[in-house]
C-alpha cells in the first residue's frame, strides 16, 4: 500500500477498499459497520436527538488532541447537551491527495479511543479524496444519534430568573491552544486543549439533578457567545461575576498579550449548565467527582433584568455589559 493518499484511494475501486480495510476497519470495526449501503439498527424506545458537525481544524494535531478526537467529541457533546446518550455515529472524510496514510491512521485511532470512552458506535462512513490544495489535509464530518434520557428536558429556551450558571471547567483553553500553534504570535505557553467527550459527565449530572434547565457546549464563540444565545432564547438577562470565572493563568497571560477575551475563546470539553439555585450544590459535587468536571464553578445567575444582555459584575462592585462578540482575526479552531 502506498504511504500517501492518492486520487485512486477515492475512486471507489480496489485502492478505496484497501484504504477502508487497512485503516478504517482496523479501528471502526463492529457488528453494525457492515459492507452494505446503510447501517441497520434497532430503534430506541424513547425520543432521539440527532446532530451533525464538520471539522476543519488547523493544525490537525495540537496539544490535547487532534482532528479525529475533536470530530467525535463535537458530536458526542452536542448530543449529550440534549440529555441524549450517544448511540451511533457516522463519519465522512474528505482527504487531500498526498496526506500520509500514517497520519490518517493516527486520526482514526483517536476517533476509536474517544468513541469507546463513551460507548458510542461508528456505524457508517464515507471517504472522498480531493486534489492537492482543494482541502487542507483532511476534513471530517460526523453525524450522531442519541437516545434522550427519560424525564430530561434541556433547552436554551428554559433558563429562568434565579437560576445559577455553571461552567464545568476552566474556559478558553482549546481556542488558546490552537492560536498558539500558529507561529505568528511567537508566544510559548504551556496550554493544552480541553477537548474531551462529555457524555459520562452529563449522565452523572442528570442522574443527580434531572431538573437541569440548559446544557450547552461552549465551542466556537466560547462561553460569552453561548450566554448571549441563551439570554436571547430564554428572554432573560445573564449576570456573571467576572472574577469567579475559572481561567488558567497561562490562558489569562496569552489573552492579556493578544488583547483577547477568554469568554470568547472556544472550548471543546467545557459545558455551560443552568440549574435551579437549590440544586447547584448537588450538581457541583457531582461534577467535581468526574475527571472532566474538577474545575466546575458557579460563574453567575439568570435574571429578569436587562433581557437579552450579559452583564458582568466587576472588581469595583459595578456592572458592565459584556461586549457582544465581534469579528476577530482568528484561525480555524474546530
Amino acid at each position: 500500500m502506498n504511504d500517501v493518499i492518492t486520487m485512486a484511494h477515492g475512486a471507489g475501486g480496489k485502492q478505496t477498499n484497501e484504504l477502508i480495510d487497512k485503516v478504517f476497519k482496523e479501528y471502526f470495526s463492529n457488528p453494525l459497520f457492515t459492507g452494505d449501503d446503510a447501517a441497520v439498527m434497532e430503534a430506541p424506545k424513547g425520543r432521539i436527538a440527532m446532530s451533525t458537525d464538520g471539522f476543519i481544524v488547523s493544525p490537525r494535531f495540537f496539544p490535547g488532541g487532534n482532528i479525529g478526537k475533536l470530530s467525535i467529541c463535537g458530536t458526542v457533546n452536542d448530543l449529550s447537551c440534549m440529555g441524549a446518550k450517544p448511540l451511533y455515529l457516522t463519519c465522512a472524510f474528505v482527504i487531500e491527495e498526498g496526506l500520509e496514510i500514517e497520519e490518517l491512521r493516527r486520526i482514526a485511532e483517536a476517533m476509536k479511543k474517544t468513541a469507546d470512552e463513551v460507548g458510542v458506535r461508528i456505524v457508517a462512513g464515507d471517504t472522498k479524496v480531493a486534489g492537492k490544495g482543494q482541502v487542507d489535509g483532511v476534513f471530517i464530518t460526523t453525524t450522531g444519534v442519541g437516545e434522550i434520557m427519560e424525564g430530561v428536558n434541556t433547552s436554551g429556551t428554559l433558563a429562568k430568573d434565579g437560576d445559577v450558571v455553571i461552567t464545568t471547567g476552566d474556559i478558553g483553553r482549546h481556542g488558546c491552544t490552537i492560536l498558539l500553534q500558529r507561529d505568528d504570535y511567537g508566544i510559548d505557553a504551556e496550554v493544552e486543549s480541553d477537548c474531551a467527550p462529555l457524555w459520562n459527565l452529563v449522565k452523572e449530572s442528570l442522574d443527580a439533578v434531572p431538573e437541569i434547565h440548559v446544557i450547552r457546549d461552549a465551542t466556537r464563540g466560547g462561553v460569552g457567545t453561548v450566554l448571549y444565545e441563551i439570554a436571547g432564547q430564554s428572554n432573560v438577562g445573564v449576570e456573571i461575576n467576572y472574577d469567579d470565572i475559572p481561567v488558567k493563568e497561562e490562558v489569562k497571560g496569552v489573552c492579556g498579550l493578544l488583547g483577547l477575551e477568554p469568554l470568547y475563546l472556544a472550548n471543546e470539553g467545557t459545558l455551560v449548565m443552568i440549574v435551579p439555585e437549590e440544586k447547584k450544590d448537588i450538581l457541583l459535587d457531582t461534577l467535581h467527582k468526574n475527571k472532566y468536571g474538577k474545575g466546575a464553578a458557579v460563574i453567575g445567575r439568570i435574571t429578569s433584568d436587562h433581557q437579552g444582555y450579559v452583564v458582568s459584575n466587576t472588581q469595583l462592585g459595578v456592572k458592565t455589559i459584556l461586549p457582544q462578540p465581534g469579528n476577530e482575526l482568528l484561525p480555524r479552531i474546530c
Partner: protein, 349 residues
Amino acid sequence: MIDDAIKIVKEYKGKKLRIMEVCGTHTHEIFKQGVRQLLSEDIDLISGPGCPVCVTQVDYIDEAVMLALEKNVTICSFGDLLKVPGTKYSLSAARGQGAKVQVVYAPLDAVKYAKEHPDEEVVFLSVGFETTVPSSCIALQLAIKEGVKNFSLLTANKTMPVAYRAMKNACDCYLYPGHVHAIIGTGLCEELRDNEGISGVVAGFTPKELVTAIAVAVTKLQEEKPFFVNCYPRVVKPEGSPAAVKLIYEYMESSDEEWRGLGTMPGSGLKLKDKYSEYDARIKFAIPPMHGHGNPACRCASVLKGEIKPYECPCFGKICTPEHAVGACMVSDEGACSAWYLYGGLDLK
C-alpha cells in the same frame, strides 16, 4: 484603601471636574471595569487622543493603500490599522482589490517576512507612541544588520509632549498614560506643572490603580493649584527607560506630524533620520503628497478633542459601528467610540 478611593470619586460634589484619560488602553479598561458608573455626576471623564489608530490621519492610510495597489508593495501592519478608512479604501478593502497586506504581531515579523520573500518590497506601518516606536527601531536595527534591503518603514509615529500642551484647555487634569511614561519618565509632567500650570496623575491599568489615580486627581484638583502625582510607581520611574529613549533617537528624530482631529503639530512626531532614508518608504517609493479626506459627517475630530461624547456624533451606531467603521475612533478596541458602542448600550446602576 480602594474603598476610600471609591468613596472619594462617588461622593465628590462641587465644581464640575473634567479629567482626560489620554491613553486608549485606559479608555478600554475604564469601560470594561465600569469605572464611570462609580463617578459622581460632577466628574466627567473625557477620552483623549491616546489611541494610535484613532489619531492616524487619512493621508497615511492613503499612502499605504497607494503603495500596496500602485507600487505592488507588501504592507505589514498591526491588525487594528486594517479597518481604518482612507479616502477611497481601507487597507482591508484594498486587500479585496488585490493588495498584499500581512497582519503581523511585532515589527520583527515584518523583517522576517521580508527576508523570506526577497522578491517582494515589504513596508511595515510604523504607527504608535513612545511605547511602540522602540520595537520599530529594533526591527530596523535587525534589517540593517542583516542587510534586508527590501524592508522599509512608513512612519506615522506620535509623541505625547506636544499633544499635552495642545489639549490643555480641554480638561482640568490628565490621567497620564502609564506605558508612555514608563519610557519617557516623569520629568515632563513636572515641567508641565511648573511652567504651564498643567496638572496630571500617572495612572496604572488595573481597576484599583485607575480608581485610585482618579481619586488622587479629584482630591488634588480641589486644592486649585497645579499638581503632578505618579500613581503608578511600581512601573513608572522618574527617569523612565533611558535605554528605550536612546534606541528611539538613534534611528528617529522629531518631526511635524498630523494628528487626526488635531491637525499638524510641530514636533509631535518621529520620523527616520536622513541617514536611514533608504529604509524610509516615503523616500524609497517617492510617495507624492496626499490630500485625502474622511467622511464629512464623521465627528472623530471633536470626539478626540473631548468636545463631544461619541454618541453625539450623527454617525454613531447608525452608519458607524465596529463592523463598519466610518471614523478611526470606532475601529480600535481602544477607541472612544468603539468603547461607548460596545459597553454603553444599557443604563446599568
